[in-house]
Symmetry: C2
Subunit: 391 residues, 2 copies
């Protein structure tokens, strides 16, 4: 290591950096002539991280980064710059820490057509959801504890709002489907509105609620989405608890693959960064994404109007004759068929929760059904709709 | 593709090879001047596969192979040859089909110290064990069916005897621990003697029986073993059923990783072979194993005398007073403590099965305890001992 730049020179660190050249400005470090590889661990899509990476690539210096926001938002521009200057741009640590999901998709499956990926890519959300499920405590309560323990940031919106997972799935989708990341094509929902009762009732139907980041290859593009979703308890994604990250991949020829590991932390991140540096040393010359940058297009968003899926519906209804018939009729009218249904015993006066899962139906039809259900007089609040993951 | 060689030219194939140069002798194909990469899918550690790979490497031609026996038995020699002639030697398809376990260990974890790997690496055995468990049928019965269905070879010994898994774990252990494969250091036990009653009683204690290929880094070398072993039902290795392959990896910095996918089949194998060819095209220059071949030593076998572990014991005893006390005393005398114990109701006259799991103890102590138990008069057959996987 020849030089280092960070916000604070004096901060206590596990590694001694006092013998290294110190740069107050990371861009100056990126431009210094005696570096062979520029390693960027600053974070953020704009500002010093962006400027320093761009400066290094413009000088043809290999760049290794853990910056998912940067790659998700500027991946195409930076890939063009990197390839124009013959400089590798590697970002294994940006997704799933030391679990080599990027290498797996970029290299291991380069010859296959990946059709779907779905994963748990944000450890903070997975920790919060796992805690909520096992303790029955509210989102706000568990989040506050996670913040006290240092598992969640003081400003948790990037994590719990699904934006961190959206950066990561945009990168993986680009590698999987042969395009460039297109963050604006991603639908993003966070976990803030999930209630313990959703988890408890989903559990009775054999599901867990996870924040699932997914990308599916459709006829007209890619469907990229981050959303709380139900996964079967017995599925590997259902079994990945705590702060674990997990990724399910389906390819035309390779079939179904599954990868799981720590998604963050100093050790795993260092393993990924060092693996990328080793690739630079090995003289690898391949495109930054699956195809040469001059052939890349940002992933095209599939028309959500064509989308089909299964959902979990939770209703709160007055315990009176005929309600269940009305609900079933509303679904039938919209041509949505029921897969499983559970009417829970009332424990709150005369209000009863009803939960059901549907078979696969057009999302528009499900939306119709929800409107019809909401119009039923005995239904006392807007139905909760949570997708069931396509895995 | 420029040329092809196979046992039969006229056999029906999914791909048309009639326009390609035909070679009766694969060694002649390997030596032909107009090939850029030699792809070997013949199989077998000796004979034409070995000779053709050696011939290609001697001419500096990159080799891509799916041949686990060849790499496990001649890995060091071939790595030296490959590196001396500047020719890549890649073998992703040799282990876990299209699931890139080789790439993960060789590249993704190159900067970490892997301390343990354990996996389900033989799909045939996993299929047979899964069927035995779910149907209660005997090994011989399920094997015969697997042979009829084409899931098992006419001569099944390579699979069910654990030798195929031993080839694979020897390769992975070499990559994980920075040595060359050393098949002779592997202890190998097959699944032939597993009975449905073992599975049923293990299940009651929360375990499944799987053929586990494992390698652990010890102070004095590596402990490499293929053996039927108990894994907790809830562990990902316990959940990988049917013909799936699965691999658990532990690294000092990366923590615990888990990888699962199809272990064989035309599609997955083709994906792995094509990924290796893409690596050749990308101009990758790295050692065949983790270190340059001239620094490699065959993995040293750790002294099994130092080994500790947990085991599952199944006894058949006469249903008479004091037997359980004698068994407990035999274990206590050998300083082996009991983790869980189940005395099953007798359904066969006055003979009762007792199963127990131990805490971790020296294997020698466990062996002592088994001898003591066998000497008890009411114990009517040699105790069945099955290790519990260290995962």
């Amino acid at each position: 290591m020849t030089g280092v730049s960070a916000r604070s020179r004096s901060r206590a660190r596990a590694a001694d950096v006092s013998h290294l050249n110190w740069f107050d400005d990371p861009v100056a470090l990126a431009r210094s002539l005696d570096i062979d590889v520029f390693v960027e661990l600053i974070g953020g899509a704009e500002g010093p991280a962006h400027d320093a990476v761009q400066a290094a690539l413009e000088l043809g210096k290999p760049v290794v980064t853990a910056n998912k926001a940067l790659i998700a938002e500027h991946g195409l521009k930076l890939a063009r710059l990197a390839e124009a200057h013959g400089a590798p741009l590697l970002f294994e640590a940006a997704v799933m820490g030391g679990t080599p999901a990027v290498k797996l998709l970029r290299e291991g499956l380069v010859a296959d057509q990946v059709t779907a990926i779905a994963g748990i890519l944000n450890g903070t959300c997975n920790f919060i959801l796992t805690e909520m499920e096992s303790t029955g405590r509210s989102f706000a309560d568990v989040l506050a504890e996670a913040q006290r323990l240092g598992y969640a940031e003081a400003d948790p919106r990037t994590d719990v709002g699904g934006f961190d997972a959206a950066h990561k799935i945009s990168i993986l989708a680009a590698l999987a489907f042969g395009g460039a990341p297109n963050l604006s094509a991603a639908e993003i929902y966070g976990i803030e509105s999930i209630e313990p009762i959703d988890m408890q009732l989903a559990g009775k139907l054999g599901f867990r609620i996870k924040l699932i980041a997914s990308a599916n290859l459709e006829d007209d593009g890619a469907s990229v989405r981050v959303t709380p979703a139900l996964v079967p308890i017995a599925h590997p994604l259902g079994q990945a608890g705590g702060a674990l990250n997990a990724l399910f991949i389906e390819g035309r020829n390779v079939g179904r693959l599954y990868l799981q590991g720590a998604g963050a932390g100093a050790g795993p991140t260092a393993v990924a960064v060092a693996a990328d540096i080793a690739d630079v040393v090995a003289g690898v010359r391949r495109p930054v994404f699956q195809k040469p940058a001059h052939q890349l297009q940002p992933l095209r968003q599939a028309d959500p109007g064509h989308r089909t899926g299964r959902v979990f519906l939770r209703l709160l209804v007055r315990d009176q004759p005929g309600v269940l018939a009305s609900v079933a009729e509303a679904l039938a009218k919209a041509q949505v068929s029921i897969d499983s249904l559970l009417q829970h015993p009332a424990d709150d006066g005369d209000l009863v929760p009803i939960v059901l899962t549907t078979h696969t139906a057009p999302e528009a039809a499900i939306q119709d059904a929800v409107e019809h259900i909401q119009a039923i007089q005995a239904v006392v609040q807007r139905p909760r709709v949570i997708p069931i993951a396509r895995i």
